[in-house]
Amino acid sequence: MPRRVVVVGAGFHGCSAALRLSNQGYEVTVIDKAYAGRHASGVNAGGVRRLGRHPAEIPLAIAAWERWLNMTSIVGDDCGFRPVGQIKVAENDNDMATLIERECQVRNLGFCHETLLSRDELYKRLPALASHCPGGLACDGDGYANPYRTVTAWRREAERQGACFREGIEITALEPKSNGWQLSSGGERFDADLLVNCAGAWAGEFCKWLGEPVPLTAEAPMLMITERLSPFLGTVVGATSRPLSFKQFENGTVLIGGGVRGVVDLARHVAETRLGGLAENADTVVSLFPFMKEARIMRTWAGVEAVMRDHIPVIGLSSQHDNVIHAFGFSAHGYQLGPITGEIVADLAMEREPKLPITPFSIQRFQTPCPKQDEFTYAN
């Protein structure tokens, strides 16, 4: 059995893998070119959402949600999780038809976490909503949490279990070496019996090195946050056919995101916001909550996310090497799944059958003709 594991990437998934592997007695080193939670994991919108998941992700999202409910017992911190519920709002009859179809699809798969809301039920829950919306789709128990706090809590728990974090180290070369790998960063070398690729937007580079290229693009979902406003919104709100996710925190600030993209500058390892997209987002918000027109925006930002061609992650063993495990490409909705990634990676490392169905996430899917992309929006 391999002993030394190197996890590349100290995002939520990397920290999750480090925690579970350390817990199983592996000697784990997590390497990050910046610091834990620098990109997608630390600066995302914080949505904890089963609502609207890709069918393949539903079992994972439900398992992850159970972990979110018990977060304190896992990492000693609730990570700011507030299960206030999430609602997708239909802005017109077409939207409503989409939501009805969606609810039916999920029910037919044997799940019952998504429920349709009539117009009356919708306005009972969202009294501040503009009056033109015919209904919605809700998932009670979903909510939001604090991303950076989450990564830090998982990282610290991984450290307590013995994992070692090396930040500010960029891997520049990867070579096979007697049943394992040697990673280099400048003059420094790291030996591993097992390599775990949690490198997010930079994971594609590793896949190239490993001889199994993947269709991954780095994207930068943009977010903006307002000044503190009087409480008017309890649940997280999304739109159906326009990119929007909208929530008010306990401190009164309102976070607006949902998928409008900024510009990624991979060389500088940063993402920038773009006026056009933000203006569009602002327009959506104002049409759903007209009084928000006067709310002042305090800050905008964008995080770098790995987005796969088919918008679902790669989780599983390498197709080329038996000592590499992948967990990346969560396509801007990986935050909620963080808690179960480590469990799956640990199962794979120990050569056990994972308790959750991960076949759809195999890297091999990109080595056969590409599957048709689903029409529904799966953004956070």
């Binding site: 610091y35 939670g37 630390g42 604090n146 991303p147 950076y148 706090r149 830090t152 610290r156 946050i225 307002t226 000044e227 401190n251 607006i256 500088r268 940063v270 920038e272 916001t273 006026l275 056009g276 933000l278 203006a279 569009e280 602002a282 327009d283 918000v285 104002v286 928000m292 027109k293 006067e294 709310a295 002042r296 925006i297 305090m298 800050r299 905008t300 930002w301």
Partner: protein
């Protein structure tokens, strides 16, 4: 989106001089300024100040007139009362004027956004009645308003003395100046006097200010080593200790004006992620600039105090230099031509800034004025104390972006302007690492808050 040759941000001495120079070389600049009238902080409200007695504000203030008059040239697209809320690395500028959002693009940009006061987070600094010397001066210049007297001024630096004198001339009772310059600092600064003599006029002006204060009999308490403001709900008294004396002394006052010098306002250069360095002599961040004052971003230059504190006169010279740089970048001048024209400016600039090492050493703010104690607020907007930042450092936060995520420190309406330098220095101190390693906030647009409605309108107009 309209593309302009040159966009200058800020109509202080640097911005105005840059515009005038650009014009000479066949460039018609756009000059954006947040204030309703040109002049920056130094020549603020010069055209409309209600202080008709020209002697209250000094000659240097009135010397801004010619620069301001230059803006009247029809070829200059001068846009007062216009807020810049975004700048991208592609030189797109987001503007807000009269509730309307507009985006323009520039081939070349000169940032002339000047300086801001260094925060001085002493216990009680957030009480009503406590403000900065700079804001005291703004009130004086723009509306002739003086704070409730008697006033106490505390800290160090030329502006503090200048304001004290201006108050005296305006008939405001100055109860005391609490001077935080340590006694041994005069000796340390002494060796820079010969250099400073190259700018003897400024040196003499300082001596003149001190003399005027002494003649007026203003109580000048030197060697102040500890300071606190107290009062219930608002300032009632100021307490201080002098070096070598363990007793607190007290003065009842309704107004305390604090000052520990000025630092470059790097809000915009940070937001576009220019390369910055920590200037140990000035104890401040500044963008790294080349000989034409260009940053490491193509087509983006910085003139004046925003690139390192130089003072108003030198800022105007840098404005000229950056104007030549723009002409060079836009192909209006050859390198040989611009180099030749720059020669005399560089000489004058060297002479004027020769006084800086002396001032920087003499008025270098001591640690206790820069690092708040555990119970004192570092971030006023989100009410985060020095103690909380130190606790975050213990938890493993190496830089201000991590403490931001934990405590919201720097995420309030001022967008970290007020606490940025304090938090960087606090973390460096607590983690025993350099400020350079500690880094600074990643800043995000909007630089100044805009409303969702204003932004949404921009979408409609494409």
């Amino acid at each position: 989106m309209i593309t302009h040759d040159l966009v200058i941000l800020g109509a202080g001495p640097a911005g105005m001089a840059a515009a005038a120079t650009a014009l000479k070389h066949d460039i018609t600049p756009v000059i954006i300024d947040e204030q309703p009238a040109a002049g920056g902080q130094i020549y603020r409200a010069l055209e409309r100040t209600p202080l008709r007695g020209r002697h209250i504000l000094d000659e240097e203030y009135w010397s801004g007139e010619s620069l301001i008059n230059g803006l009247a040239d029809q070829r200059i697209d001068y846009r007062p009362a216009t807020m810049v809320w975004q700048l991208t690395r592609q030189r797109e500028v987001g503007l807000l004027h009269d509730d309307k959002v507009e985006m323009i693009r520039a081939r070349h940009i000169i940032l002339a956004t000047g300086a801001m006061e260094r925060p001085m987070p002493i216990p009680g600094w957030t009480l009503p009645g406590v403000m900065t010397a700079g804001s005291g001066q703004i009130l004086l210049k723009s509306s002739g308003v003086v704070p409730q007297a008697p006033v106490v001024l505390a800290g160090c630096g030329p502006l503090l003395l200048l304001l004290a004198v201006q108050y005296l001339r305006a008939g405001v009772e100055v109860a005391a100046i609490l001077d935080t310059t340590p006694r041994n600092r005069y000796c340390a600064a002494l060796k820079y006097v010969p250099g400073a003599l190259r700018n003897a006029s400024t040196l003499l002006k300082g001596v003149g200010l001190l003399r005027e204060l002494r003649r007026a009999g203003v109580r000048h308490i030197r060697d102040v080593s500890a300071l606190r403001a107290e009062g219930s709900g608002q300032l009632e008294r100021v307490l201080w200790k002098q070096q070598g004396d363990d007793q607190w002394q007290t003065l009842e006052t309704p107004t305390l004006l604090l000052h520990q010098g000025v630092i470059p306002n790097t809000q915009i250069t940070r937001a576009v992620d220019c390369h910055h360095e920590w200037d140990e002599q000035q104890l401040a961040w500044r963008p790294c600039l080349d000989e034409w004052l260009n940053t490491d971003i193509q087509g983006l230059a910085v003139a004046g105090d925003g690139g390192g504190i130089v003072g108003a006169k030198a800022a105007a010279m840098q404005g000229q230099l950056a104007g030549l740089g723009a002409a060079l970048a836009l192909g209006k001048l050859t390198l040989a031509n611009s180099t030749e024209r720059a020669q005399s400016i560089r000489k004058a600039l060297a002479r004027d800034t020769a006084i800086r090492p002396f001032l920087d050493v003499l008025y270098r703010p001591a640690k206790q004025w820069r690092l708040p104690d555990d119970d004192t607020l570092a971030c006023r907007c989100e009410e985060v104390t020095g103690g909380e930042i130190r606790r975050m450092a213990k938890m493993g936060c190496r830089g201000p972006n991590q403490t931001k995520s934990f405590t919201r420190c720097g995420m309030g309406p001022c967008q970290g302007r007020m606490c940025g330098i304090t938090v960087s220095e606090l973390l460096a101190d607590a983690n025993q690492q350099s400020v350079e390693e500690t880094g600074y906030y990643r800043l995000r647009p909007p630089f100044k808050p805009i409303t969702l409605g204003q932004l949404a309108k921009a979408a409609e107009e494409g």
